[in-house]
Amino acid sequence: MTVTPGWYMALAAVLFTIGASGILLRRNALVMFMSVELMLNAVNLTFVAAGRNLNVLDGQVSVFFVMVVAAAEVVVGLAIIVAVFRRRQTASVDELSEMRG
């Protein structure tokens, strides 16, 4: 029984789905943000598995760039969450509904 790239794809798909469920089910902005990170990680896993299957290194370079963008995104996103918390004293996205029409 050998591990084929399809197994990694399936595992990454399950992880991506769990991350999407975190976005849909949770109301805490921090946990929603962590779910985004989980989805990014799942996609990174597919890049590496596909790169090994095709015998190219570009998949791993793509993972490197995704990590850089994710790190920048985490810094700005957490700064926004902290700024919103200082103003509203809440991290729940349901209470931040002032911008709706």
Binding site: A10, L25, F64
Partner: protein, 174 residues
Amino acid sequence: MVETVLFFIFGIAAIFGAISMVWARNPVYSALGLMLTMFSIAVFYVSNAGHFVAAVQVIVYAGAVMTLFLFVIMLIGVDKSESRKDDLRFQRPAAVGLLGLLIAGVLIAGSAAWTTGTRQPGADVNGTIENVGDMLFRRWLLPFEITALLLIVAAAGAIALAYFKPGDEEGDAA
């Protein structure tokens, strides 16, 4: 054989960590579950010959990013319990139904080999620092330089967001 055993052990660990991240009421447990998942994904990178990205995964994600998350969790406070009341009544049942469909779809799709294109000839891919750096500083040099700009913009944005105190902005409606 070794890869199969590792796949099952760390696959279960990754899914357990991911589910506990979504499930836990306390954000600290969520962060720890995500950390477990990221370590497991680093093991999968090693299985797929991605030694450099595995190291970066542990250092950047499990180290720096999760520490940043834990800092913010401690700053905001962990005692705030999340209300289960929903503003949109059918959101949660609809979410669960959609997720069932999505899981079925991705499992069907994931069981097939979805990499298209022909396998490149030559030696097996090996993601050592030397090989990845060779790609990064030759073929991907311009994107690499652009990420430097991106990081500077992100750092400046974070400082700007942290700089203003509440009530400083003009036209404040709150």
